[in-house]
Assembly symmetry: C2
């Protein structure tokens, strides 16, 4: 089981790439290493490295490599996200896809070629570092829609193409595709749930309780605390391959859904719940450090998501995470499963039926109060081999 | 009479700000100084200096100051444009005005406060350098519309506010407002022609013969070669103050309107024509250096506009410009004027009546073939004092 943090620099947020300081990164990574974490996920800013479609700045790449090397000093492995793209409500887009040059980065062929060149150059460069274990196309690229038009088919083709570039340029590194949870829950969303489980080497889920689940029984109610576990189960149930692992690549304790006093029990409860899931590959907390309040225009919740304050003081969630990292876990040998009528691989239009607050989700949460509950699609609920592979002993 | 060049770095275009090199700038400015030019106009990139509304990067400002100091080594004065914003078809916009944070930089109050902070910080910083003589709000900010909604009233208020910030923070430096020529010619354009003559310390005009004029008789016909002179006259005629000077802040020999073989005679003809204009403050050629063809997506014409190639070889226009700088000029003591029925100060909706190809423009160009011809609005055509101040001896 891997534990890490999404790296948000304590000084200057991701804007600090424009003034990269290895020493600042050292101070931040020392914080993370002190919790016993084994990895960080890092976020280069696309338009600053590729300001023109045919100009990829070597110094921009060098700064990314320098940060990776600083991580190695603290024995931290690194997952690199490439197309940012989207971060904490902001989209970073180069002038060559904006206004007078406006074109969809999913649809336009020249833009796709430019992105392939960027993904190729970065993948090849970061793969030279032994502590890089994963490359994600970009953080929640589905947030770049609707400003960039796309469709289910185009989104899939776009991601498949770029995953292929990563695999070619960074063999031996996990090639990954990250989407926020509208891909699971929003019926009309033009990013197919199948992409999560059929593209890339792991399934990624991002669990944010402000997506509606905290309105059910948050902050410490069962549905809220087990939402990460629910998403991991839903992902595992959707995957054609019963052994495919699921990385909880983002999870955090966002205010006001989770108040400051509730952060510790919320974090403890969610880690305990999701930690029992046999499909779980690892947990990467969002995020490493709070956001300096001198920076403007972020959603209020973004300022306090850090494991550490900007002054490097560990917050309650950090202590819970460190305790969990150090604890022995004995997941149950097997568990019961709830049958899901919706086949997300073939029925994306039915996504609302599994969203937070749906009858299915409420029933799962009710059963989950008594212990781990898997999800299984109706078509596979009678397949003993499949059920065994998923660690399921009975099906409801 | 001032002569200069709009500075486009020979290596990496304006993207080179991300990897600023004083030595590269030295090599480029040596080229420009060799022509006898006295100034350069420079273009910081706004979102790289102010990536967050409340974060203005000191290192970004320091790079601008370093470039100004390099210019001083070559006895070049510097005009600094602030909000880029728009350059050669590309708009550089920060994430805090895009997509999920989409808001008009003309209309939104928080964005305007952010811009005021940026203009304030840069103006104060560059005013510490004795060779900085002018600050323009931004290059052709009207190209930032329509992606940023505005109206005649809002555009004016926006510019007036920021010109006020420049005046306060950089006393003794020319405070200026730059717009491309739709402000003179396009009836529905939401930037008023009066803004050119009533805001800032000089009137700025940008003369580009691809605006329609070269279709009349380009590249070497009278209307085309005198278009810069026409714009200067139109600006002088529109100004309430008959002594207000007009800076031809951008002019060039764009292909394909002006072919490579015609660049020298076109340049010679336009400099001779506009050089006779008593309102002319100076001429700043667009641009210093060609664009490396390895950079993608620029309009074709942008690649060959340099006085110098990317390898520092002077092109024909450079030689014509240098010869003109060194020549003695004796403008005529006075000239006739053509009366214009359109009062651009009060009738922006009539702008098409003075645009290239309009009956008025064609008549002016016909008369201009015989020598300098002023423009005077009907309401002032009988005012002897005004006519004397403009150097006009007879009115048609």
């Amino acid at each position: 089981m891997r534990f890490g943090a999404n790296y948000v620099p304590s000084s200057g947020w991701l804007y600090s790439w424009l003034d990269f300081s290895a020493d600042d990164a050292r101070r931040d990574f020392a914080d993370l290493a002190s919790l016993g974490l084994d990895h960080v996920r890092i976020f280069p800013i696309w338009p600053w490295i590729q300001p023109n479609r045919t100009l990829i700045r070597q110094r921009g790449i060098d700064d990314v490599l320098a940060l990776i090397d600083v991580a190695a000093e603290f024995s931290l492995d690194v997952a690199v996200d490439l197309v940012q793209g989207h971060l904490s409500s902001f989209d970073f887009l180069p002038s060559w896809v904006l206004t007078h040059h406006r074109r969809s980065l999913f649809e336009d062929e020249a833009v796709r070629q430019g992105l392939a060149a960027y993904v190729s150059a970065l993948s090849e460069a970061v793969a030279t570092r032994p502590n890089v274990f994963a490359i994600t196309l970009g953080n929640e690229v589905n947030n770049l829609w609707p400003s960039n038009p796309t469709s289910l088919e185009i989104s899939r083709d776009w991601a498949r193409e770029l995953v292929g570039v990563v695999r070619e340029k960074a063999p031996g590194v996990l090639a990954l595709h990250s989407l926020y949870d509208d891909t699971w829950y929003a019926p009309d969303h033009p990013f197919h749930p199948a992409d999560n489980v059929e593209l890339g080497d792991l399934t990624l889920v991002h669990s944010w309780v402000f997506n509606g689940v905290s309105a059910i029984d948050g902050p410490l109610g069962g549905a809220t605390v087990t939402h990460a576990d629910y998403l991991v189960e839903l992902a595992a149930a959707t995957s054609p391959d019963p052994s495919r692992k699921v990385w909880l690549q983002e999870v955090g304790a966002p205010r006001p859904d989770v108040g400051a006093d509730d952060a510790a029990p919320f974090t403890r409860g969610l880690l305990e719940a999701v930690g029992q899931n046999p499909a779980l590959w690892g947990v990467t907390w969002w995020c490493s450090h709070d956001l300096d309040r001198s920076l403007a225009d972020f959603p209020e919740r973004e300022y306090d998501l850090g494991l550490f304050t900007v002054d490097h003081v560990a917050k309650p969630a950090a202590k819970e995470l460190a305790a969990h990292v150090g604890a022995r876990r004995t997941p149950p040998a097997s568990r019961p499963a709830l049958t899901c009528d919706v086949d997300l691989l073939r029925q994306p239009e039915r996504r609302a039926e599994v969203a937070p607050g749906s009858a299915f989700h409420r029933e799962w949460a009710r059963l989950r109060a008594a212990g781990p509950v898997a999800i299984v699609t109706a078509s596979r609920s009678g397949d003993p081999e499949y059920l065994k592979a998923r660690g399921i002993h009975t099906v409801r």
